[in-house]
């Protein structure tokens, strides 16, 4: 593990203000390549805002974002996507009136270099369709290809949300609460997708999640945010036993944390 401590994504002193509100305050995080790094914190801690800064949706008031050492702070989102940073959204963000297949096919076409073939039918580019079908099977939407995205059930929409991101084959995946709104029965299927992504061996995942048992079991590292700032960072064990996190915040908010860790160890 120590031999490849390559930092793939780095936030440096990021600050984001909305009017008078400081949503992200002096956040510095280093994400190690090929690890699953979770970011947790209560509602309004600034997790989604941090994702927006990392993916170029918002520009920071101050600070920098580096991808493989390159300053990407001021790149527009579509350029950041081209570098290999994918993003899925807390609030489902799909193409409601297009089919499941077309939703994912578009994403696989995006980085393919055939976007300006105005006089060729898109069905002539079979490779994007093939890629899309493969992703559809991966996220478990097989059989739903021809359905309009808006007709999917909530859980399926969450899978589509992931599929759109996966179709572009990104190196770094920013997952913003992939289980948002899902019932607990639907979570294992999603966990399996996340595991299969990590099993590819070359992917880095940054995960924002509220389900603590899930975070504790799959993360390599955890960063805790609180009121826009950093509270702690470490391995799941370190976070679980961190006194500041415990007393200041985890104790009452995530009461089941110590239990779930004990259950895992015991």
């Amino acid at each position: 593990m120590n031999s490849d401590r390559e930092i793939i994504l780095e936030a440096k002193n990021l600050r984001k203000e909305f009017g008078g509100l400081v949503a992200v305050e002096d956040v510095s995080v280093q994400i190690q390549a090929r690890t699953l790094h979770s970011i947790i914190g209560p509602n309004g801690a600034g997790k989604t805002t941090l994702f927006n800064l990392l993916s170029g949706v918002l520009k920071p008031t101050r600070g920098f974002v580096y991808f493989k050492g390159q300053d990407i702070t001021h790149l527009p989102p579509h350029r950041i996507a081209h570098l290999g940073i994918g993003r899925s959204f807390q609030i489902t963000n799909i193409f409601p009136n297009l089919t499941v297949l077309e939703n994912i096919r578009l994403a696989s076409q995006a980085l393919g270099g055939d976007n300006f073939r105005l006089l060729k039918a898109s069905s002539d580019f079979q490779k994007y369709v093939d890629k899309a079908l493969q992703v559809i099977e991966w996220v478990g939407l097989k059989g739903r290809e021809a359905d309009l995205a808006r007709n999917l059930a909530h859980g399926e929409k969450r899978k589509l949300e992931l599929g759109i991101m996966l179709a572009a084959d990104p190196q770094v995946l920013l997952l913003d609460e992939p289980t948002a709104g899902m019932s607990s029965e639907q979570v294992p299927a999603l966990l399996e997708i996340i595991h299969s992504i990590m099993n590819l061996g070359d992917k880095t995942i940054i995960l924002v999640e509220h389900r603590m048992d899930m975070v504790m079991s799959i993360s390599d590292r955890i960063t805790v945010m609180h009121l826009g700032g950093l509270l702690a960072e470490g391995t799941p064990q370190e976070i679980a036993s961190n006194q500041t996190v415990q007393t200041a915040y985890l104790g009452d908010l995530y009461g089941d944390l110590t239990e779930s860790m004990e259950g895992k160890n015991g």
Binding site: H78, N97, A110, L118, S123
Partner: protein, 372 residues
Amino acid sequence: MAELQTQNVKKQKPGLFKQNQLAIIVLVLLILFPFIMSLITGQPANEGKPKFWEGQFINFFIMAVYAMSYDLLMGYTGILSFGHAAFFGAGAYTMALWLTHFAPLISSQYKITLPGGMDITTTLLFIVALLLVLIVSILMGLFFSGASVRVKGVYFAMITLAIGEAFHILSKATDFVKWTGADEGLHGVPVPLWINPTQHRLRFYFMALFFMVVMYLFLKRVTESPTGRVFVAIRENENRVRMIGFNPATYRSLAFVTSAIAAGLSGAMFSLWNMSATPSMTSAVTTINALIMTILGGVGTLIGPILGAGLMQIFSQFFYQWFGARWPLVFGLIFIALVVFLPYGIVGTYRLRKQGMKAGWTRFTKQFSAKK
């Protein structure tokens, strides 16, 4: 809009004919139309009643292309522009100005002949005219998209309206009266003899029909291309389009340019057909016409706007005869009724209800077969 993506996962490609059966039948009928009229009326295809009817259809063909160009913007890309007449007018004025002022000057000084001795000067000058229309249209499209790239929603509509109005004022400006005829416009444009719409009505009919078919195929191809799919995605969710790696501004510009080319060419055809270019072609009414034709027929369908243009042709021609100056009122009421009962336009509503209609028809026919 629910432009149901009918393409299936499994690639099924029925024969070219079966797939477009209805379109091909209609096309054959349109080709035969002048001769059928001539048979019915007993008059030659280039005179009298057939000539009048061909005129009606020529106008329809040209306006259909104009309506389709608007559909590419509004129906496919989700761009609601209120300056579309500027594209149409730019094409019309480019053609008319060139044929009135520049082409005669050049042909009076130079003669270009083929080795055989055939004079092709006017033909070449006409081709130059088409190229100029193309260039002007592209510039207009870029100008519109560039000026409106940073604004959204109502502000976008306002800006396009303002630019459109600016071009309208320009076309009426007395400063250029020597060139444009200002309020009067340009009349009696010296259209090349071989396509003179009065003398060669039948020929012009086929030219306009060919124009519409080619532009339909072109626009259809564009909407089905990888680029066109991004247009539709922008209409659906511009934010996600950006997040998966497309720059929406680029695609909006492309949509504008493609639309401006189609609209500009239809304007040029319109000026040939009327042998004139007038400020009414750049006016807000011309923009509204595009909107009405597209909504009537069904946005995001291409075929819809063609139907819409046909209906518009019928309304404007006959309602005036039947209702006199009050015809817009009657038309307005019909328009409201259509939008209420066919919220997705004729083609859009048909496509949405197709399954239900088919089921109904089978039930209907089964009754009869059961009785036997």
